[in-house]
Every structure is written in structure tokens, then in C-alpha cells.
Symmetry: C2
Subunit: 397 residues, 2 copies
């Protein structure tokens, strides 16, 4: 959608973390940054959530085995190559990335978490990676510029960086992410790195808090329904603020940051022109709400209708119908950008021309679906499906 880079404010930044983002040559064809390094001054609590794909990249296998932990020191990330489907070599390379990083910053390899994103099925160019880790380790600092460099260095097909901060009272949470939208060989997986300088004693509880937040945010977005082999969300709590908090105290700030990053990812979906929020309410169970919301958000016909600024309640209602959610069709109501278009099982007259024009004017579209049952709800975010998406994913061979 928009390609304007997000501002990073100094007061957002977590204390106790130094970062760098460099170009080392994994993205061989460009001069774009392709390696980011995040280093905690001391041992940090680290928790994470990972792709549910059965086919999993080597760095995910390794990092997944290391969290939760209370002794993480660094996260090293390369973009341009996913180190996925590369057999035993992949595991060796992920280990080597950790070892190189550990040597530069002075810790054990197990204290380094590794992420990769980019092309599938191609071995990592380890000489470039080593150069990048060297360079990044030399550049580490806590400046806004370095955070901006790191935010750029994790991108693949994204058009702009994705950053968000919790703001307000409560422990400070800052996050950066890269977008979803495709996978090998042009690749993008969803990666997010979250930081807080609060001190958290219990990694296991923090892991649960992160999982709950991710289930309502990053697990409720879709660009094309394709779960990658590399999706990873990591949260590091450095404790540098000396502010000791319960893991639960972080949930509000995490929810703010993850919701914002999730929306930024969808808004920057490949070829997207509109950010679509699907709110399903009045469901008998949270599972019914999720099923209906996901089916609507993933429907090609709903997504193309949005692109065409068409207030097409029929596609929305029928997507809910095949979603597997249990509901009574004669009680369903639909609002598009606040306008009732379908009320308790019946289409209602509305000014189609005016609503379509309003959709055309708006970068954000809201689809509210009330299933007419219980009190459960689910919000899902998606984008429209455009010819640009098809071109982007087809025209490179």
C-alpha cells in the first residue's frame, strides 16, 4: 500500500539492546541490507512462537529448541535466503551463524538465536554471512539509525519497514517485523522481533503470554493463506530498565505492538491496495468465530470484491457458510464500513453507489459479520487481491 518508511522515536527503544543492519551480499543482486544483529547487554529472557508448517527451515528447528530461555544474548537474522529445504547442510550453517556471532560478542553459541528468510532450497552463502556478522558486530549501537538499518535488513519483498511501540504507561515494548505474502523462491516469511527492557523472571509464563498474544494478532492475518517454513516471532526481555514485572503485565503492550505490526504486514501485502478488517461477532464459540473470520478473510472472491469496491455481501455470507462455523443463516447480519447491507438473513436496500464510492475513497475496509448467536468474537486482518499480486507472483520465471 504505502511505501513511506515508519518513523522510529528514541523514546520507543528498549534499553540494554544494541543493534546493526548491514549489507553482506546474501541479496547478491542489490545493495540492500541483508543481515541484522540484535545484542542484549546481559542475559535476556527469550521466548518465541514458530511456524506450524511441517516443512521447517533449519534455523527454526534450532531456535525452537533453545527457547524459552533466560540467557539469550543475541538474535542474528539474514534476509535473501531462508536456509530451508537444504538438508543437513542447513543445520550446520545455522549452527555456524550462531558460533560466528557468539565469538564476536563473547557468549556461548546456545545464547544466539538464528533466523533466516528469503529463497528456499539454496545453501546459505556462508562467506557473505561471516562478513556480515563481522561488520554488524563492529557497528553495534543503540541509535535510532541502527534500529532503522536493522528494520530494513530483515525485509525481503516488503515495500517498507514495519515497526511499532507500546506507548502509554506500563513496560515498554518495541517491535519490528517483516511481511508475509509469498514463499520460495521469491519468498517472504513473517518474522517479528519484540523487545522489552522490563525484567521478567519466568520465561515459561512469558512464553504463554506471547502465545496468547500471537494467537490474536499474527495468527489472525492472511495475505494469501500460505504459512511459510520460516515464520518466527521472538520476544526478548533484557531487564535493563530494572523494572521487574509479571509476565502478564506485558500482555497489554505486546498486544498493542503485535496488532500494529500485524496490520502493517497486511497493509504491505503484495499488490495490496486496501487493509481489510474482518470482525465476526455473535458466535457460539471462539472456534466458530475464528473459522468464519478466517474463511471470509481468505476468500478470493471477497478479496477481489474489495479490490473492485463492491459491497458484495453474498460472497461474505457464503464464505461464512462454508467455513465450518456453526450458525443459523437466518440470523446473520453484515455491515460494510458501518453500513447494514444484510440483516438477519435478508439483503436490505442500501445506496450501493454511495457505499462503493466510500470504499473507493478509503484505504481501510471493515467487514462486520454478526452470526446472531452467542457472545464470542474474532478479528482477522487481510488485504485485497489485485492483478499486481498475480503479476508479482507469476512473472519472474
Amino acid at each position: 500500500m504505502g511505501a513511506r518508511e515508519r518513523e522510529i522515536r528514541p523514546e520507543w527503544l528498549p534499553r540494554g539492546v544494541r543493534v546493526a543492519g548491514v549489507h553482506c551480499g546474501v541479496k547478491a543482486a542489490t545493495q540492500a541490507r541483508d543481515l541484522a544483529l540484535f545484542v542484549s547487554d546481559g542475559p535476556a529472557v527469550a521466548v518465541g512462537t514458530f511456524t506450524t508448517n511441517r516443512v521447517v527451515a533449519a534455523p527454526v528447528v534450532r531456535t525452537r529448541a533453545l527457547v524459552p530461555t533466560d540467557a539469550a544474548r543475541a538474535v542474528v537474522v539474514n534476509s535473501g535466503n531462508a536456509n530451508a529445504c537444504t538438508g543437513e547442510q542447513g543445520m550446520k550453517d545455522a549452527e555456524a551463524m550462531a558460533r560466528m556471532t557468539a565469538a564476536r560478542i563473547g557468549c556461548a553459541p546456545e545464547q544466539v538465536l538464528v533466523c533466516s528468510t528469503g529463497l528456499i532450497g539454496v545453501p546459505l552463502p556462508m562467506q557473505a554471512i561471516e562478513r556480515g556478522i563481522d561488520e554488524a558486530a563492529r557497528q553495534l549501537d543503540d541509535s535510532v539509525q541502527s534500529w532503522r538499518d536493522a528494520a530494513r535488513a530483515i525485509l525481503t519483498t516488503d515495500t517498507t519497514t514495519k515497526v511499532a511501540a507500546s506507548g502509554g504507561e506500563g513496560p515498554r515494548v518495541f517491535g519490528l517485523a517483516k511481511g508475509a505474502g509469498m514463499i520460495a523462491p521469491r519468498m517472504a516469511t513473517m518474522l517479528a522481533f519484540l523487545f522489552t527492557d522490563a525484567r521478567v523472571r519466568d520465561p515459561e509464563r512469558l512464553q504463554k503470554v506471547l502465545q496468547a498474544v500471537v494467537s490474536e494478532t499474527f495468527n489472525c492475518i492472511t495475505v494469501d493463506g500460505h504459512t511459510s517454513t520460516n515464520d518466527t516471532v521472538l520476544l526478548l526481555a533484557t531487564g535493563a530498565s530494572e523494572q521487574e514485572v509479571d509476565a502478564e503485565a506485558l500482555s497489554c503492550g505486546l498486544l498493542t505492538v503485535c496488532t500494529e505490526l500485524a496490520r502493517q504486514i497486511v497493509a504491505d501485502g503484495e499488490g495490496a491496495t486496501k487493509l481489510v478488517t474482518v470482525c465476526v461477532e455473535g458466535a457460539d464459540s471462539s472456534r466458530d468465530a475464528l473459522l468464519a473470520a478466517r474463511a471470509i478473510a481468505e476468500s478470493l472472491l471477497v478479496k477481489t470484491a474489495i479490490y473492485g469496491c463492491d459491497p458484495n455481501w453474498g460472497r461474505i455470507v457464503s464464505a461464512a457458510g462454508y467455513s465450518g462455523a456453526s450458525f443459523q443463516p437466518e440470523l446473520v447480519s453484515v455491515r460494510i464500513n458501518g453500513v447494514v447491507v444484510y440483516d438477519r438473513g435478508r439483503p436490505v436496500p442500501f445506496d450501493r453507489r454511495a457505499l462503493s464510492e466510500a470504499m473507493r475513497q478509503s484505504k481501510e475496509i471493515t467487514l462486520q459479520v454478526h452470526l446472531g448467536g452467542g457472545s464470542q468474537r474474532c478479528t482477522f486482518w487481510t488485504c485485497d487481491l489485485t492483478e499486481a499480486y498475480v503479476r508479482f507472483n507469476a512473472e519472474y520465471s
Copy 2:
């Protein structure tokens, strides 16, 4: 894909059925045929399978309640209007269509099966429908031309008719279908009408045979994953050939006809340029095979890669990975149009340029995925995803 109309051969036609296809004005904007009538000379065994969507059109509710039966006399079908989401009026109109037809051909309304396909949420124009039933009843005969008219009269966004015959030995089975690819308001649901002149005594057993065949054919195709409110497959056995057979004796002919119609539907998917056959083999269970095949066939990234003639095994493997199917990633192999591109968990070198060029030259693409486990398999058919699909489904508001 191709818009050439399929030939109908006289020897294909089932004895004991007279048909007509007329224009009555449901498709108000064109002179296209929009009402088909199929009449069995005597009471026919009729069985059917229907959409699994929770939101179901009135004619589906009515017809579903009437089969299996051994006393069907007619099927009346209108295109251009789905009679879906029209409240109680919808049921009244479906009943009226049956009553009008019954009066013209001399039977009880319960002997008439009704189908509608087209716009959702708009009441049926019953004056036009009545005119159409009158006209069709007058024109009924068993000529090739009338079958061709009927095959045209059930279409909505299809570019061409879909017909198939069983051929060879065994009871004669003939079928016609209309395509899937979208739903309201521009609409297309999948409808298929199958006829045999064999005599079958047991409607319940025939129902089971039809269900088994549909599960391997019409339930294994996808254009955009959207299950409509109106999908219906009806099979009528007129008995006019006096050849008495077990229901099971029909399964082979039915499978031939339904497979062929299913493939024709996918090949004529909106905007499609290629017919894609996804064969998943080596699965531990038939469910695993189905899950993997469906996920690959529905993947936007796989479908856009095919459009781009890109032999992208990464998208195929990762779609299997998130499908929910159980398998060991290190045992998976993939062939594209017969060429091994991924072997037991590893990419293998192949001539990418040559394979891409071969894909470009071919209207049909085969993706074979061996999961490296048991002996279960599933075949799924889909088409590529093109800019034309997006334009078609977006640019009408």
C-alpha cells in the same frame, strides 16, 4: 481456456428423456438461454448430492428433501438467478416452479426437481420463469440440438458448454454441467445433471454410488475454493433401455463422466489458461492425501507460479507442509510434468529453462507429489490464477 463448444453425439444420449433449453428473460440483459427442462418419459430413479454450505438456496432445500426417489419425472433449471438468500419467498418460488412444470407435463409437483443458479439475493422473476417453462414444455424432444440448447441454458459465467459420455461397454451414462468459479452477484455455482437409461431398482444404493463418485470428482476440483450456496449434482436413471443393472454397475461410467465434467469445469475456470492435475501419492491415509492435494490445488502461490510457468517446487512442498497432512518432510519428492525437481527432501538440479518452456507450451500441467509414506493417493484438479480472474471478479462494481 478454450471456448470451443463440445460436440454431442447422438449415440451418447440416454433413451427416455426429452429436453429443451430456452431464453425466457431471467438473464434480462442478454438473449442467452436461461431455462432448461429435462423430462423422463416415465418415473425415474433420481439421486443427488448437494452443497455443504450452511447457507443454502431454496431450490436446494426443496430438491434435497425429495431425493432419493424412484418417481422423478422432471428437472427444471434456471440460470441467471440463484434464488438464494431470498427468505420465505424463495421457497414459495421454488415450489411454484415445480407446480408449473408438473402442470405442463402431467405429474405431481413432488416429481419435479428444481435447480437455480445465478445472482444471489434477488427474487426470481416468476413471470419470466413461467413463460420459460411454457415454452420449454412445448419444445421438448430428444434431438441433439435440444440437448445442446439445454447444455447452454444452464450456463452462467462459463465460456462454453460441458458435456461428457461414458462410452465403451456397460450402461450408458451422459452428463452435462455448468462451471464453478465465483458466486454472487455474478455467480456461478457448480451444477451437473447425469442421465442413464439403465434400470436401477434401489435408489438408496444408487445414492451411495453417486456420493462415492462425487467425492472423487466434483469434490476434488477447485477454482477459488469458494463452495457455493447452490451446488447440486443430480442423477436420473430412466430405465428406458430396459437394461436392469445393479447400482454398482454404474460406478465406472459415472466416474468417467464425472471426471471429464470436473476437468471441463476447471479448464473453464474464470481467467484460467491451464488445467492443473495434482496427484498426491505415498500418503499414510486417504485423508492425508486429500489434505495435501487440496492445499496444493488451492494455494494462490502454486496457482500463480503455474500461470508464470515457474517450476516452483518450494511453493508445492510448503503447501503440503501447512495442509495438516501427516508426513516426513525428508521423504517428499515432487515431479512437475514428469520431471523430478525435488527428491526425498532435497532440491535436485534440473533444466529450469526447458521445464518452464515445456509448461508454457502445455495447456495441462501435472504436479506429482510423493509423500514417501503409505499407499494412499488423491487426485485434485485446479487451474492457474491469472490477472483475468482478478479483473473478472473485481471490475464490475
